[in-house]
């Protein structure tokens, strides 16, 4: 090994002047997977604008998919965080109706004041989340298995207790005006109040993931669990916290639904399980963990909502809706993957090799 064949230390090669010009950062922006999600969103929007006509582009049309996006979005945020950390949470499919039924039974059937029902409902979600997290760190079983178990357990409990206590699997709820205004009413008659809650959640989770050290911990946990632990991250506490957040958000959405629609059903949440995973994956979060962003999750949620609701504006036979949804989603995900591959393989501006002396 001669000294000639090895580069000398940095002192002899100072950083090229202006090494980070604006062009490089635009290049960086284009190569982020979130750009792929954004393009997907735009394409899908244009598609339904063309085939859905002016009704889709009207304020009511906008409201119809934004409302769906908000409900799904609040759940997609912690689900996305969990996926970045390398986990799944299937139990939300049962926590949503369980919390719906909880507030409906406590405040509707038993007539206790709304704040009590709301508190019980949210605490239920947090408790299930804690149970999920605890089981996962103690048994070290895959999160898919553990949350599948809690999914069924909570579903069974909800059904059994509802029939036992209320005699039916559907309970009505009449809320007081304040609760209605805060959780379950319409702004301007069109936009559900939960939209505002979604925006708040978006900002908060965006801060946590993108701009706090906890976000870095979540990314590390999903990237390499063992290294994360060795680097001193309290992975157990982090896992439990994430699951409690997921349970809380699922309970929140279930509770709002019960207040908005004045009734609760025991089986009202199954579709959220897959829909939240789909929304999050469209948004650029990798299924196996280690990468994702809140912007991506939000874009993915909106894309899903547009597809899900836009179909009703096109006049296509309802039977084709599922097919179109499937195709559009696959396309969006493929687009994301290519953008992510570009981001990883992107080469820095090459420094021209010095001519040999």
């Amino acid at each position: 090994m001669t000294a000639n064949s090895i580069q000398s230390p940095a002192a002899e090669h100072p950083a090229p002047k202006g090494a980070g010009p604006p062009m490089a950062s635009i290049g960086n922006l284009i190569r982020r997977p979130e750009t792929g999600s954004f393009i997907g969103l735009v394409c899908v929007f244009v598609f339904f604008a063309i085939f859905g006509g002016e009704s889709f582009l009207s304020v009511s049309g906008l409201a119809s998919w934004l409302n769906i996006a908000a409900e799904l979005g609040i759940i997609a945020l912690p689900i996305g965080l969990l996926m970045i950390a390398g986990h799944l949470d299937l139990s939300i499919g049962s926590v949503i109706p369980a919390s719906s039924m909880m507030v409906a039974i406590v405040s509707g059937h038993f007539g206790l004041p709304m704040p009590v029902g709301i508190a019980c409902s949210l605490m239920l979600g947090v408790a299930v989340g804690f149970l999920n997290g605890y089981l996962i760190i103690k048994t070290d079983l895959p999160s898919f298995v553990v949350t599948l178990g809690t999914l069924f357990a909570v579903a069974g409990l909800t059904l059994g207790i509802s029939v036992l206590v209320a005699g039916s699997t559907s309970v009505a709820l009449k809320s007081d005006p304040i609760s209605k205004m805060i959780f379950g009413d319409f702004i301007n008659g069109k936009f559900e109040v939960i939209l505002l809650w979604w925006i708040a959640a978006m900002l908060f989770v965006g801060y946590i993931l993108g701009h706090s050290k906890y976000g870095n911990w979540i990314l590390a946990l999903g990237g390499d669990k063992v290294s994360a632990r060795n680097a001193g991250i309290p992975t157990d506490k982090l896992n439990v916290a994430l699951y409690m957040a997921s349970g809380l958000c699922a309970a929140f959405v279930g509770m709002c639904q019960a207040i908005l629609y004045n009734s609760a059903q025991v089986s009202a949440g199954q579709s959220f399980i897959f829909n939240s995973i789909i929304a999050v994956v469209i948004g650029g979060v990798i299924l196996t963990g280690g990468y994702g962003s809140v912007i991506g999750i939000v874009l993915g949620t909106m894309t899903f909502a547009i597809v899900n609701q836009g179909i009703y504006y096109t006049g296509f036979d309802a039977n084709w809706a599922s097919l179109i949804i499937g195709v559009l989603l696959l396309a969006a995900v493929l687009l994301n993957n290519s953008f992510r591959a570009m981001a990883i393989s992107h080469a820095a501006p090459r420094v021209k090799p010095k001519a040999a002396p």
Binding site: I6, A10, A15, A220, G223, A228, A231, I344, V351
Partner: protein, 261 residues
């Protein structure tokens, strides 16, 4: 003679009925490179795990700066200044360079009532530390680690260890998956770390690379230390033969020859 920074005395490690390491005694001083040579199955991985705190010795003792130590987990080992760089992984391919560098020790700044991750500072420091080790290609700490070559990732991991004040650097097969040029670069970085006064334990089965950087060599064969020599005491052929158990082979050949004549 200065006291060794890290020392193993008669360390044994068994997993149930299986004895993996027998009577291992090695030591490494500050500013020195100890090369642990051995073919696959010699017990190198177990030894690394012992040194980095994943396992505890079944018997024997570990000393740091003359004082006995015992690690319950890798975190404790790293708290004592022992940093381990594995062959793969540990650098989070999907994170940016800045973030990956500071995992678990993120720099923060205040933004109103919020504590915000200081991305700029993290990127600056990460890039600077890598440049110090000769990686000049990277100028933007936001680039994903996955876009770095194998050698650059090794450099990142070593830079991180050095930056966070490691006194002992354990490198597990750092050049095994690298091409010639990249391997050369990593070896140069090892020498730089050595110059900084860090004790380096360099585990490999590539004799050429070991002979380039090592001050002190130990050969592991089937869990036992088969040889212990300083730089210059053996040639490359002798070492290779040693690792493959070749001395025994050579002895057998000589015996057969002498019988035939």
């Amino acid at each position: 003679m200065t006291a060794p920074l890290l020392q193993l005395n008669s360390v044994n490690k068994s997993f149930g009925p299986i004895d993996v390491l027998h009577d291992i005694s090695i030591e490494v001083k500050a500013g020195e490179v100890l090369c642990l040579l051995g073919d696959n199955g010699a017990g190198k991985s177990t030894l690394i795990r012992l040194l980095s705190g994943v396992h505890k010795p079944t018997s024997g003792e570990m000393l740091m700066n003359g004082k006995p130590v015992s690690f319950e987990n890798p975190r404790e080992a790293s708290d004592h200044g022992i940093a381990t760089v594995h062959q793969f992984g540990g650098t989070f391919p999907l994170m940016s360079i800045g973030r990956s560098f500071f995992v678990g020790a993120e720099p923060t700044k205040r933004w109103g009532p919020f504590e915000v991750f200081d991305r700029k500072k993290a990127n600056e420091i990460a890039v600077r530390e890598m440049r110090q080790l000769g990686i000049t290609r990277i100028t933007d700490g936001d680039r994903l680690v996955g876009g770095l070559s194998g050698g650059e990732r090794q450099a990142l991991a070593i830079a991180r260890a050095v930056h966070f004040g490691a006194s002992v650097l354990i490198l597990d097969e750092p050049t095994a998956a690298l091409g010639v040029k990249e391997a050369a670069h990593v070896l140069r970085i090892v020498l730089q770390a050595r110059k900084k006064g860090i004790a380096v334990i360099f585990i490999t089965h590539q004799v050429t690379h070991a002979l380039t950087v090592g001050d002190h060599f130990a050969v592991l064969i089937r869990g036992m230390k088969a040889a212990d020599f300083r730089k210059g005491e053996k040639t490359r052929e002798e070492v290779t033969d040693l690792m493959a158990g070749g001395e025994a082979m050579a002895g057998l050949e000589a015996e057969i020859e002498s019988h035939l004549h």
